[in-house]
C-alpha cells in the first residue's frame, strides 16, 4: 500500500521536498520504525531525522506517539515541535 508522507518546516527543508508517496517495506510497523527506515534513505533524510526524538508525527491529521502502529495510515506527517500562537 502506498502511504503519503508530508513534511513541514525544517524537516521539509532538510529533506528537500514537501511530500512524497512511498511503499513501506515489511517490518516498518510503528512510527519509530518509519523514522529509522527514512533516516537510512540518504543524507538529506539523515540530516532531517538526526534526532528522531524531537520529530513530531501526525497520522491522518492527528498527533501520535512514536510507538503508534502505522498500519492503514493514508497520510503521515513529520514536523518539528510546533511554534504557533
Amino acid at each position: 500500500m502506498t502511504t503519503r508522507l508530508i513534511y513541514f518546516a525544517w524537516v521539509r527543508e532538510r529533506i528537500g521536498m514537501p511530500e512524497e508517496d512511498v511503499d513501506l517495506p515489511a517490518g516498518v510497523e510503528t512510527v519509530a520504525d518509519l523514522l529509522r527506515w527514512l533516516k537510512s534513505r540518504g543524507e538529506e533524510y539523515e540530516h532531517a531525522l538526526q534526532y528522531p526524538d524531537v520529530i513530531r508525527v501526525a497520522i491522518n491529521q492527528e498527533h501520535v506517539e512514536h510507538g503508534e502502529k502505522i498500519a492503514g495510515a493514508r497520510e503521515i506527517a513529520l514536523f518539528p515541535p510546533m511554534t504557533g500562537g
Partner: protein
C-alpha cells in the same frame, strides 16, 4: 439554560477585526456576562525582525484547533468561542492569533481563553520562520519548553 455552543474556528491569511469578532459572539444576546479576548501579535524583537512567516498544515490546523475548542466547551460553561489563526507572512505589529470566549461569569471565560492559548501553542500545527531586518536568513523559531509545561498544567487526572 445554555444551548450547545458551536465554536468558530478559522485559519486564514488575511487579518481579523477583534471588535467585530467579539460583537459576533455577543450581538442579540442578553445572557452573556463576560467576554475575554486574547490577541497575539508579531513583535519586531527590538527592531531586528522584519516579518514572521507562518507555515501550517492545512486540514490538520483546523481539525486540531477544533478538537481543542471542543475540549474547552466541554470543560467550561461557555456561551461562545472563537479561535482564529493566521498563516503566511506577517509583519511586526500585525495580528497572528485571536481567541474569544464568552460566558455568564468571568472565571470560565478567563480560564477557557488561557487553556485555548496554551494548547494552541503546543498542539496546533503552525511553525514560525523569522525574516531579519538586515535581510539575513533568520531561521525557524524554536519551541519553548515553557509552552509545553503551560499546556501540561491543564491535564486532568482522569
Amino acid at each position: 439554560m445554555t444551548s450547545a455552543v458551536v465554536p468558530v474556528v478559522r485559519i486564514q491569511a488575511q487579518d481579523f477585526d477583534v471588535a467585530a469578532e467579539i460583537a459576533r459572539l455577543t450581538q442579540g444576546r442578553a445572557d452573556i456576562g463576560a467576554v475575554v479576548s486574547f490577541s497575539g501579535l508579531c513583535r519586531d524583537e527590538q527592531g531586528t525582525l522584519s516579518a514572521l512567516e507562518l507555515e501550517h498544515y492545512p486540514g490538520m490546523a483546523e481539525a486540531e484547533i477544533a478538537r481543542i475548542a471542543a475540549e474547552a466547551v466541554e470543560r467550561w460553561p461557555l456561551q461562545g468561542l472563537t479561535a482564529i489563526h493566521r498563516h503566511g507572512k506577517i509583519a511586526p505589529g500585525e495580528n497572528i492569533v485571536l481567541v474569544v470566549t464568552a460566558s455568564a461569569h468571568r472565571h470560565a471565560a478567563f480560564e477557557a481563553a488561557n487553556f485555548l492559548m496554551d494548547y494552541l501553542k503546543s498542539r496546533a500545527p503552525f511553525w514560525k520562520k523569522e525574516h531579519r531586518a538586515d535581510g539575513s536568513e533568520g531561521g525557524w523559531v524554536e519551541a519553548k519548553e515553557a509552552d509545553d509545561e503551560a499546556a501540561g498544567r491543564w491535564k486532568s487526572s482522569d
